[in-house]
Amino acid sequence: MNDFQPKLALGPILYYWPLDTILDFYERMAETPVDIIYLGETVCSKRKLLRTQDWLTLAEKLAQTGKEVVLSTLTLLEADSELKTLRRLCEQKDFLVEANDMAAVHLLEGSAFVTGPSVNIYNSRTLKRLADFGLRRWVLPIELSRDTLADMQANRPDGVETEVFVYGRLPLAYSARCFTARAHNLPKDDCQYRCLDYPDGLTLSSQDNKPFLTLNGIQTQSARSCNLLNALPEMKKMGVDILRISPQSKHTEKVINIFHRGLEEPESVTEGMKRLQALMPMGACDGYWYGRAGMEAEVKDRI
């Protein structure tokens, strides 16, 4: 067990960045110690600076650098055009696919697939049933705690890997409505791609000016970044296979390196926690992991 070392994964980019920024970002990510890279648009089908074929080309390029590439799919599927894109991704056989909706699970049945954090796997019976359909890896839903994970791990089906979202702003909700467009008094149909102006989303604060949420098009995220660096030792003990880091516009390499070092040298975690403080746009939270309100911070030090 001492030799067991979780892998590091880079989640899909949740924001809308300019084309060159995305390509440059992944060129740099290829140089980092992440083992797995999730690629694709999971939030809004209007974000088309990279088309499906472009994502596939990028996937091939990254795979050649030795990274495991997984194709992530859209979370909220409404239009037929969105199902069409989904089918194309699910039909290709070169890369594993991350399902973020039951539609994708349905299309992927019978072959190996991954479920992302928005697929509701809250208990062992659900995990087992999806494993029967081909589930090979699941991401723990965002709001579940370490206690629930421990129970799930105890009854985990053979051949299923567990991934935990350990760093980044938490994806909390999805809507048919676009809140970024709304903030600019624009209809969603004519959003003018305002998401491009907010590489880390648009901050929503309470009226006493405390950052609370982040508007990212149709997705709502936490304002604080989830940071579970100091939970790495217990995750190792629990047999968590993969740790997911969610991209942000700046410092993603530094974040990856801190987590990588945290795995290699557990004593570096204290210093790593300090360094991460400076890299998070609005501070940290870790409440969900400890079974508390998600926005709570530094729960470990208080329990």
Binding site: L83, Y122, D151, Y174, R177
Partner: protein, 331 residues
């Protein structure tokens, strides 16, 4: 189209049935359902009475077991399914795959509806639940436009139920964690959004502040009515503006669209509001019964009566109503 009304307790159930509901839906008094509020819902004994009352008057009874159990609570959900079967409800309304799987295995003949909390917004997702868990009906999330709803109906192997009236979730149901982010409890895990125990009001010189989980979610000035403080219906700062950044406190009302919903192939209209009073349920059921009857009789000349609209707007949250996602600009 069937009129499906909420029943938070026995008096509400009777009010719904007496005023023309074709079916009522309800839940047990715990976190196995998505309206887990203090003082609401049914004990087994009350449920027996309610089912008898409804069945004697040709109304059907659906039971919502539509939250997501975690391993340490799973037995409670199993027990709820067994109790529902024993009681003889007409259908279960379920979201979780584990619970669906259990119900299929133990009570294969008990009809299963897919809850709105399962977030099935497209026909591929519906096909998944139909093929593997034999669902007979699905309740659509309140995020689809009318043309999207039509498209789902055309490609769906099962009957489709949509929300017609009541509180409006702007987020896809079953995938919204805003409440647990602020309070620790969400509809998925606890069966309530923005739970009352996490709400705190403070009188200040600026107005009445509402805090949820310690977060200031709104300040109401004099004369502004204060509805239930749901997190997504608060006023926040974005950029330099303070406004309803996510959603205004409005209610969904699709009464003017009944002929279109019928033409789209919708099987049932659901009224939200198990937490509302029996008199509210009676009033809303009565108006919707009249509207459904009128729209069935004369779909081409159907127009909602002014008196229905004023009755409904009187009881609506925020006293404003919207067509929600059915109305394209809303999206």
């Amino acid at each position: 189209m069937e009129l499906v009304c909420p029943a938070g307790n026995l008096p509400s159930l009777k009010a719904a049935v007496d005023n023309g509901a074709n079916a009522v839906y309800m839940g047990f008094r715990d976190d196995t359902n998505a309206r887990h509020f203090a003082g609401l819902n049914f004990t087994i004994a009350k449920m027996e009475q309610g089912i008898r009352y409804a069945h004697e008057r040709n109304a059907r009874v659906f039971l919502a077991i539509n939250t997501y159990p975690q391993p340490n609570g799973f037995l409670r959900w199993q027990q709820a399914v067994d109790n529902a079967a024993e009681l003889g409800v007409d259908a279960l309304i379920v979201a979780d795959i584990g619970v669906l799987d259990y119900a299929c295995e133990r009570h294969p003949d008990l009809a299963r509806h897919l809850s709105v909390q399962a977030s099935a917004t497209n026909y591929e997702a519906i096909n998944f639940y139909h093929e593997h868990f034999g669902i007979r009906r699905v309740v659509l999330p309140r995020v689809l436009s009318l043309s999207q709803v039509k498209h789902v109906v055309e490609n769906s192997p099962v009957a489709i139920e949509v929300f017609g009236f009541g509180s409006l979730c702007v987020m896809v149901e079953g995938r919204c964690l805003l409440s647990s982010y602020a309070t620790g409890d969400s509809p998925n895990t606890f069966g309530a959004c923005s739970p009352a125990s996490a709400v705190e009001w403070r009188e200040t010189p600026q107005g009445l502040e509402t805090h949820l989980g310690g977060v200031l979610i709104d300040i109401r000035g004099e004369g502004e009515s204060a509805g239930y403080p749901t997190l997504c219906k608060g006023r926040f700062n974005v950029g330099k503006e303070t406004y309803y950044a996510i959603e205004e406190p409005t209610s969904l009302n699709t009464i003017e669209m009944l002929p279109e919903l019928k033409a789209a192939g919708i099987s049932a209209i659901k009224i939200e509001g198990r937490q509302r009073s029996p008199s509210y349920i009676a009033q809303v059921a009565r108006v919707w019964r009249a509207a459904l009857d009128a729209s069935e009789q004369n779909p081409n000349s159907y127009k909602p009566e002014a008196s229905w609209l004023s009755e409904l707007s009187k009881v609506s949250e925020g006293t404003q109503t919207t067509l929600g996602a059915y109305h394209r600009p809303w999206q």
